[in-house]
């Protein structure tokens, strides 16, 4: 039983942090199934991150007044119950409330698990496992959510979390209770392995402002990468959630490759974080300018983003917690910074790309009209195509339209069908171009956020004398 405590808690921490973005690929399905507006659906993401971000530090403070294993078990139970509630939500309002409850349980789970990891594995390894579980969860969330949505349904995203969390409740209750009182650095990639000096218990340190601010900015930028990319793939380029999930799996794979790369190059921690931010910025800039709507053009940019994610998040989390007490409270600050960063990212990017999508409608419509007017079809067929397209555009207003149903309704002569098929391909290509153009500014803003994070890292700071 004891051997399973750590892995079960690690999976639960990964699930809690994966939930930050796990529903991204399911948003279109949720929108349709719960008959919600785009603004309401965005709150399924925002509410969770907001409550988790705001709740992490108070949850950590609560740990000081209660048994960590009990509070963690309660947190996991709340998280499991709320996950089940999300799966059975029959309205968008209920889903948003359930997500808030899920985040409250998640906040208790994440900060409580840190204490239990340290009890199980010791200071350095315990913090290292906690950080790694968080990075893997964050990076793999959209991939897992997209795959489950494609294979089963959006509800499956929440249902599969329940058994893991239910198993983690007894694991938390059965965890060791002795918590070391030293605060030492975790073991980020490339970090020195020497033991850190002990710090007197009960001492309180101020939160690491620069590291947490950088975490928030990087998280906002990563939101652009994960949230916008999956929207572009599913809504703009019309790929299935499963295909989109497989495509964005490049990010977690590259994030895992970052650690051995950092061990090979062994840059100073500050340079490692700055380089990570730069790679995220470069990846986002490249995502802003794909040469076509072929999925292959997103691979290398995503690899840059994934490498940047792997180099920054664990290193920054470690720096924000390094030599600071109480440990759980500083862990809470890092969770708060990351998830409020996601909320800020969504708050900045959502209005920009929705406005850009709106603005993209006119050039897209004009491009469609231009191609229909010049299409090698008989005049009466052109009129039929125009009427079918007009109806499709009206039905799907506010979204990037799917033209296939409009063409499927056309009654054309066999001799006209090749030309109609070519026309459909051309028109779909124009819509892909318009959607890609509409996402450009948002990706570039994301790149700007990553560069701002890099500047925060590079700004020289006054050294504190011990």
């Amino acid at each position: 039983m004891r051997r399973t405590v750590g892995p079960l808690l690690a999976v639960t921490v990964a699930l809690v942090l994966a939930d930050s973005a796990v529903v991204t690929l399911a948003l279109p399905d949720i929108l349709r199934h719960l008959d919600a507006s785009v603004g309401q659906v965005a709150w399924v993401l925002i509410a969770y991150n907001l409550v988790l971000g705001l709740g992490a530090v108070p949850a950590a403070m609560g740990l000081a007044r209660a048994q960590p294993r009990v509070l963690t078990a309660v947190g996991i139970a709340v998280f499991a119950g709320a996950s089940a509630w999300c799966a059975f939500a029959d309205s968008i309002e209920v889903l948003i409330v359930a997500r808030c409850v899920q985040a409250v349980g998640g906040a208790l789970t994440v900060v409580g698990s840190l204490e239990l990891f340290v009890s199980e594995y010791g200071e350095r390894r315990g913090v290292g496992v906690w950080v790694t579980a968080g990075v893997v969860g964050t990076a793999a969330g959209p991939f897992a959510g997209g795959l489950l949505t494609e294979l089963i349904s959006w509800q499956a995203i929440f249902v599969v979390q329940v058994p893991f969390a239910v198993l983690a409740v007894p694991a938390a209750l059965g965890a060791r209770t002795t918590v070391p009182t030293t605060a030492t650095a975790p073991a980020p990639a490339g970090a020195p392995t020497a033991e850190e000096p002990a710090v007197a218990p009960r001492k309180r340190h101020r939160p690491a402002l620069a590291a947490n601010l950088t975490l928030a900015l990087v998280s906002a930028a990563l939101t652009a990468a994960l949230f916008l990319l999956v929207l572009l793939l599913v809504e703009g380029w019309r790929h299935s959630p499963g295909t989109a999930a497989l495509t964005v799996s490049v990010v977690p794979v590259a994030a895992l490759a970052a650690a051995p790369l950092a061990r090979l190059l062994r840059p100073p921690p500050q340079v490692e974080v700055a380089v990570g931010c730069f790679l995220v910025a470069g990846g986002l800039a490249a995502l802003a300018i794909p040469p076509s709507a072929h999925l292959a053009w997103t691979i290398a940019p995503q690899a840059l983003v994934g490498l940047g994610l792997g180099l920054t998040v664990d290193q920054l989390t470690a720096r924000a917690m390094e030599m600071r007490l109480p440990r759980a409270e500083h862990a809470g600050w890092t969770i708060g910074a990351r998830h409020l960063g996601v909320v800020v990212g969504l708050a900045i990017l959502t209005p920009v790309f929705t406005a850009d999508l709106q603005d993209a409608q006119e050039p897209a419509q004009e491009a469609v009209v231009s191609i229909v007017l010049d299409a090698p079809l008989q005049p009466q067929d052109k009129i039929a195509v125009a009427e079918a397209l007009g109806a499709a555009l009206t039905d799907q207003e506010g979204q990037v339209p799917d033209l296939a149903p409009a063409f499927a309704t056309l009654d054309l002569e066999p001799s006209e069908r090749p030309a109609a098929a070519a026309l459909e391909r051309d028109l779909t290509g124009q819509l892909e171009r318009a959607a890609t153009r509409a996402f450009r500014d948002s990706f570039l803003i994301g790149a700007g956020l990553a560069l701002a994070a890099m500047l925060v890292v590079l700004v020289p700071r006054r050294r504190r004398v011990a």
């Binding site: 840059p267 790679l279 800039a285 050039p363 419509q365």
Partner: protein, 203 residues
Amino acid sequence: MTGRVRGAGTAAAAALLVAGVLGVQVANGGGEFEPLRPADACVERDVTAQADGIEGLTESLVLLGIDGAACRLDVSRERLTLDLAQPGERTDAEIDALRAGLKDAVVRMEEDGTLPPSSELVDEALDSSDLNGFVKGAIRLLPDSAIDSALKTDDVLTRAIDDLDLRELLADLGDGDELNQQIEDAVTEAVKASLADRLRNLV
């Protein structure tokens, strides 16, 4: 190797990676993957009709006419088409520009020799007309040269365009039969008027 050198090496490797990825994207047209921009409606374009006979002629006239109207209104032909496809009242400016654009199209086709002589259109016009069989047969017996000298295509088309109630025509765009009826009525009236004028001139 010192930390500074390792840091510089890592930064240089990152810069190379980012430059490489951005360079490949840009070299393959990244940044230019945008929707087609509407062409300037005032620049003459070649129009190829897909239909034959009267329908093909109408198609060419409409495509060229929209260009001319859009140029007059200082909008793209795509914008004008979208506006005209919307339900609602047409402005006088739109109707005037459309009529003038269609008449410009007749002139352009006459000038570049793409306007067919009336004799090429007579058989098709008679097939769809409600004249009695005796009259149709009589007209079909006339030599082409007689028909061409009696009816000038550009004259008939210009008169038909003047006769057309473009507001009503645009309102009935979705009803093919109604549309054909309006065009047929306008062309019939234009043929009568053209013939009457020819007779007056002969007298």
